[in-house]
Assembly symmetry: C2
Amino acid sequence: MTHNIEQLDRLDPLAACREQFALPENTIYLDGNSLGALPKASAARVHEVVSHQWGNDLISAWNKHSWIELPLTVGDKIAPLLGAAAGQVVVTDSISINLYKLLVTALNMQPGRNTVVSEQGNFPTDLYMVQGIEALLGSQRCELNSVPTEELDDALDENVAVLMLTHVNFRSGRIHDMQRLTRLAQDKGILVIWDLAHSTGAVPLNLDACNVDFAVGCGYKYLNGGPGAPAFIYAAARHHAQIKQPLSGWMGHANPFAFSDNYEPAAGVRQFLTGTPSIIAMAALDAALDVFADVDMQAVRNKSIELTELFLSLKKDHACLFDLTLQSPADPAVRGSQLSFSHPDAYAICQALIGHGVIPDFRAPDIVRFGFTPLYLRYSDIAQAIDILATIMDHALYRDSKYNQRATVT
Amino acid sequence: MTHNIEQLDRLDPLAACREQFALPENTIYLDGNSLGALPKASAARVHEVVSHQWGNDLISAWNKHSWIELPLTVGDKIAPLLGAAAGQVVVTDSISINLYKLLVTALNMQPGRNTVVSEQGNFPTDLYMVQGIEALLGSQRCELNSVPTEELDDALDENVAVLMLTHVNFRSGRIHDMQRLTRLAQDKGILVIWDLAHSTGAVPLNLDACNVDFAVGCGYKYLNGGPGAPAFIYAAARHHAQIKQPLSGWMGHANPFAFSDNYEPAAGVRQFLTGTPSIIAMAALDAALDVFADVDMQAVRNKSIELTELFLSLKKDHACLFDLTLQSPADPAVRGSQLSFSHPDAYAICQALIGHGVIPDFRAPDIVRFGFTPLYLRYSDIAQAIDILATIMDHALYRDSKYNQRATVT
């Protein structure tokens, strides 16, 4: 199979987006699903917020620059990427903490039901947060049932309070059918929480149309909000009156500056706020979202599929790559913006790739994971990455001892 | 009483610290207890982290720049300011969320006890977080008893699980006797959580010597870590084996990158981590703490007392200031680094001061609060602030309608 790579780049409707990122030279970055690249606008905004807003305006910046409203205004910028009407998204804390708020909220809405169904191999923190609630409340009120993926449908019965799933699996990239599973669960009276960490900014989403109850998502992967950027919560408007979340801090109070001794929740998604958010971190995310302002998510999805299909197609040209076994779905329709391959030497292969300017990541125990970010990757980057991978595998360069020393890897 | 203001500034051993801050011109900033001023090192560090570490090193920065260790390394930088040995402080999340972790941890350690004693007029979020736990667990397991300050001693009995107090009151600036109250509580088998929001970086602390159990503190007030900077947790080493906190996220796992389905807490204070922290926010705080590296906290305290005493002394020279009634303790030994005055027109007076380049803050319903930050305030600033305040009060400038329009105030 032959490809006119240059032509693909020339005709790419998203080609201009790359200019909005500050990318290191001589690097092909295939890990934007772990930490998105730096948008130039974020660097500029952080400088503005630190040096001028904080430095010059000090405390008055909270009003003057509407810092106090950022969790909601940035939330409303994310909403279109989720297929969500305004007023249903708030930017706050981390996915882990936001799941805690939503899980307890949902359990409170389901008296007489105690089970949280999830799947084995979900991103671990999602399971850990349920385990934390189970340890605190006891299994009468919260019991995690994480089942193999193929048993999910059968696990949904009238004892189940909550179905909590990650839309795109972090390891394989497999996409769940959000609409089908949401409806299946809701038909049994189950509330559904979707983790959109590997979806938001990568695949088109339709939370409102799918009648989703709640969701969380990540600011630092495909949204490019910076390392540890704040996460977000989506809560369908129909549930706002029933929210009762346990992390009832002053920023979620109906009137925080009344300094009353008794908690009274703010209306809507604002009540999911807890403490004072980092404005610098929030501003970096806010600016990063501007990259999406003129971007059609279907165009992102189309290019994402083309990039992954190109990778797979070129891989077939190299016999030395046959030992890298695809662990992602072969059908791009049910695959997120990543490709994962298993190999016994996955860790060393990752290190060798990094040593040669191609950045994937390793996911224990044996996965090399490539993330494909259509906003700043070119088709020619994919071709070059395959060439480098083939060189590494063909000459077994990954066997060099320097690629086999384990360090903490994120 | 006369003062040689110039001489006070000339002889000030902390005078050089002011140079380490980027301060706006023509502004006297008396609100560093709400949002600390910008350290020049923080601006430089944020630029470095965004443009070089994130921008160039991308995902590899987590190891290359030890981002993954920042919660602990920054915690160990804070520890000396707390009178705490290393390994007991971790930087994470907000005070509100950290209180939740500690309250549940402490309640778990106190089977058969359910009461959390605090005081009325404590910073509201502290009370709200207990209320959130009470609503979740029921009053059999958690019941808030917030009493008037003078009834605190009597409220401490064998039913009490936790005493949760703020060391320096946000409204009045009154300092609790940490050593006496900790001992009094512990004599009844009560665990003690101190909120050090208005203490850390302002008054010398001796958590280890006072045998404190747990504490939380703020990164964005006297530590100057930036708006919404991450907060910290102190947990005495003797309790580390018993920690069981409910927000059991992957960053607090013993081996986060094993991606196992079951939560297993990390050793020590690391298990208080939950989600992925904002590295940009953490870096700003990290750099801000370097200002304290060569600073003696007793020198900070001495200057703080001198600044507040100077303010009170100069205030006495102006009959027009007599209506501003001191609500802080008159004895500087039991007063933090602030002075609060009540006045029926407190809001408008604050606005008029801001209009004239002096920044205090307003605390509902009727408090003008002045914060005194010895690292960047001069004695001459205090004298000038009093002159401006006297002009405003003498000519009732605060009655101008433009100073009477309410906005959100932090």
